[in-house]
């Protein structure tokens, strides 16, 4: 089994950072001036995209290399990401993961924040290992990676940003079996967002995923405040949780709540694909003042009409479209009304 020193040696074999091209000169700034937009003849700032596609008609597509945007300047620091070829990386990564979860745990412990400059490698190697083990025939190696990441994720002495990286690592390569490890983070103000997103992703990865424990915590989070509440309101929609309809409907009509929360609750109601969501959404369409929240209510109504399970005559969906068509009579709503008519 590779020792920590061996893991460090493997990491060291990944290439150093490269020299960046010289930074583009900063545009002149007038900090106190009011922002103005004055289109200029050359509309791209230095270093910014300039369309190089010929506007003139050509018989053939452009094939010649474009000239470099800036001449290479003298190297000042090494900062650009470089990488080995996959063939080179595969050899190193196989060696690393051969030590099982312990080796991966050693690798994670090598990530020392702030990991900038030469210290960037362990984070990069961890991600390369994630990609490497996602390949066919690497299920044992992937299990070792997931086990190590799950263990380290529970270590509350690690920074939120590092734990966020581990959550996203699970999101990219783990299966629904990793959902339980993420559930405790749903109530964490700093980690509830990535945890909820990861749970949603892992739940989508298999029809057999058991999300009941996660859903219970998310429903409970609807009664809290801040990021966990917001993340829960959205995650329950992604998870199509019809059991949360009453609580989501309550949030949607709470006038004192942030519009973003109300709009999210409406969106999630639409994702439940349940006829029970029709009335709360239509109530929001009727009651919301003209503007963002009302538009989001209408959007939710259209989404629900599309999501509703097919029935003979599509009666529930038609009820929604008809209600929208009848409600949206203001000339400003002409595009909504036309869309509702098209749905009938």
């Amino acid at each position: 089994m590779p020792t920590p020193a061996d893991i460090q040696a493997i990491v060291d074999q990944f290439p150093e950072l490269d020299n960046p091209p010289p930074p583009p000169p900063a545009p002149p700034k007038k900090p106190d001036a009011k922002p103005e937009v004055k289109p200029a003849a050359g509309d791209a700032k230095p270093g910014e995209a300039k369309p190089t596609v010929p506007e003139k008609a050509t018989e053939k597509p452009p094939e010649k290399p474009a000239p470099p945007s800036a001449p290479p300047g003298p190297p000042k620091s090494k900062g650009k990401l470089t990488g080995p070829t996959w063939a080179e990386a595969d050899v190193l990564l196989d060696k690393l993961v051969a030590g099982g979860p312990e080796s991966v745990a050693h690798l994670i412990d090598l990530i020392k924040e702030p990991d900038i400059g030469p210290a960037h490698k362990p984070r990069y190697v961890l991600h390369a290992l994630t990609l490497h083990t996602a390949r066919p025939g690497k299920s044992k190696e992937r299990a070792a990676l997931v086990q190590a990441v799950t263990t380290k994720l529970a270590d509350t002495t690690k920074s939120p940003s590092l734990r966020g990286l581990m959550i996203r690592t699970l999101q990219s390569c783990a299966g629904p079996d990793s959902i339980p490890a993420l559930i405790p983070l749903l109530t964490d103000a700093e980690l509830s967002d990535p945890a909820a997103q990861a749970i949603v992703t892992l739940a989508r990865s298999s029809e057999k995923a058991d999300v009941s424990a996660a859903v219970a915590v998310l429903r409970q989070s609807l009664t809290t405040t801040g990021r966990p509440q917001l993340a829960a309101a959205q995650a329950l929609g992604y998870l199509k949780d019809a059991g949360a309809i009453d609580a989501l409907a309550q949030l949607a009509r709470t006038a004192s709540a942030d519009d973003r929360l109300r709009a999210t609750a409406l969106w999630s109601l639409a994702q439940t694909a349940s006829p029970q969501a029709i009335d709360p959404i239509l109530a929001a369409v009727k009651e919301a003042p003209v503007g963002w929240l009302r538009n989001q209510s209408i959007k939710a109504a259209f989404a629900l009409a599309e999501n509703l399970p097919p029935t003979p005559n599509a009666a529930p969906a038609k009820k929604l479209y008809q209600a929208l068509h009848d409600l949206l009579t203001d000339p400003r709503d002409a595009h909504f009304r036309a869309a509702a008519k098209a749905g009938l």
Partner: protein
């Protein structure tokens, strides 16, 4: 929110109606008044720019081309110290709430393109959106669906297809490629260089820093993960991050692919297979790559080569020609209608018809770039189903097609 300025459309309507009433005329043609299906030629539009960075002026200039547009709002998350709620905003939702704004130019970093475009369509606005159209494949589908549902005009901020379509030979090539007569082909098009791969590969030697006082960092991040502020995450170098853009492919790719997509009819279909040569991807920043090969169902191959890393693909262009067809098929092709002329944004707004770089075409073009980046980011050859718009048999790769956004943002 209230604004004293009546919309030009309202003024025009009321004055025409008053004049009509005085003359005893009770019916006024819609084309004189403007409206959902007809826009009066002399009408002045209310315009807004969302994302007032380096590309902002250029994008707004394109929005205004051949239209009378009065700029009514500027919106940027870095305007916390300047916001006045009348012309200067930090929150795009307040701009879209204004009923006197008809046209919106979007030049934010790309992780906001889809959400703002869709919200603008829902608010009844027409949009000119900077490239790349979106940050993910799922976002592209959602934008295309929204603009179709609400019948709003969308034009992507790259215009190479218009030049391409001005040439008779090119029009015949498109006609051939979309005719269905070509059958299986070994045609191949290689686009080499210009992708600014190294320039927009991420730097990893810049320390995080306190959030500037004038910046709404949470709103900047929006649907992307909320991470510690780093000065390279804003101000153009956002291109270095997967969270906001997709490196040089995101920056330059749609410029190069847009004319090719039109010429070869790639904006009516999707690749079915993609593979790339690149080092292992970094979790945060974009990196180098050598090439990607995208195969279409009819055998057509599109190759993107960076010329900045690794070995070249070894492929060279072999473009399809009308003479590849049998004589009988050439006659059939000649009898088919020529490609529809492409409408500029101004023409599309006035005629209430899709623009040349409309949302569906832009989505199919940007998907070329997203699939290339998916192959780079997964390090694997991928198969794409043009019907379900999902990767086939690779569940982990599919997780990058339409990942859940950070609340409260959703498609």
């Amino acid at each position: 929110m209230s604004h004293s300025r009546p919309s030009r459309r309202a003024v025009l309507k009321s004055s025409v109606l008053a004049a009509s009433a005085a003359a005893g005329v009770s019916i006024v043609p819609a084309k004189v008044l403007g409206g959902p299906d007809h826009v009066a030629p002399s009408e002045t539009f209310g315009g807004a720019l969302i994302g007032v960075g380096g590309r902002g002026p250029g994008t707004y200039k394109e929005l205004s081309k051949n239209l009378n547009v009065e700029q009514l709002a500027l919106c940027d998350v870095k305007f916390k110290d300047k916001v006045d709620g009348k012309k200067i905003y930090t929150d795009f939702r307040h701009v879209l709430d204004r009923k006197d704004i008809d046209l919106v130019a979007i030049a934010t970093p790309p992780h906001w393109h889809a959400l703002i475009s869709i919200a603008a369509a829902e608010a009844g606005k027409d949009v000119l959106c900077e490239k790349p159209m979106t940050r993910t494949i799922g976002e592209g589908r959602a934008v295309a669906n929204a603009f179709k549902r609400y019948n709003r005009v969308f034009q992507i901020g790259t215009f190479g297809r218009f030049g391409m379509a001005g040439n008779e030979g090119n029009r015949q090539t498109r006609k051939l490629m979309t005719s269905g007569l070509l059958g299986k082909t070994d045609a191949c098009v290689v686009r080499r260089g210009g992708f600014k791969v190294k320039e927009w590969s991420g730097r990893l030697d810049v320390a995080d820093a306190p959030v500037p006082a004038n910046l709404d960092w949470d709103l900047y991040c929006g649907p992307a993960p909320l991470k510690p502020f780093n000065p390279t995450r804003v101000g153009g170098t956002h291109r270095w991050y997967w969270d906001y853009e997709n490196g040089g492919l995101g920056d330059m790719g749609q410029h190069f692919m847009d004319p090719l997509a039109w010429l070869y009819g790639l904006d009516t279909t999707f690749p079915v297979e993609v593979e790339a040569s690149a080092p292992p991807a970094h979790p945060e920043v974009t990196g180098m790559w050598a090439w990607s090969k995208l195969k279409y169902a009819n055998g057509f191959t599109l190759v993107l080569e960076s010329g900045e890393w690794g070995e070249p693909s070894g492929l060279s262009s072999k473009t399809p020609k009308v003479t590849d067809l049998s004589e009988a098929d050439q006659k059939k092709l000649a009898a088919m209608p020529d490609p529809e002329p492409l409408l500029t944004f101004a023409e599309a707004v006035k005629q209430r018809k899709p623009a040349g770089g409309n949302a569906e075409a832009a989505y199919r073009t940007v998907t070329i770039l997203h699939l290339t980046n998916l192959a780079i980011r997964t390090g694997r050859k991928l198969k794409f189903d043009p019907v379900t718009e999902q990767i086939v048999g690779d569940e982990e790769a599919n997780r990058l097609i339409n990942p859940p956004m950070r609340a409260p943002w959703h498609l």
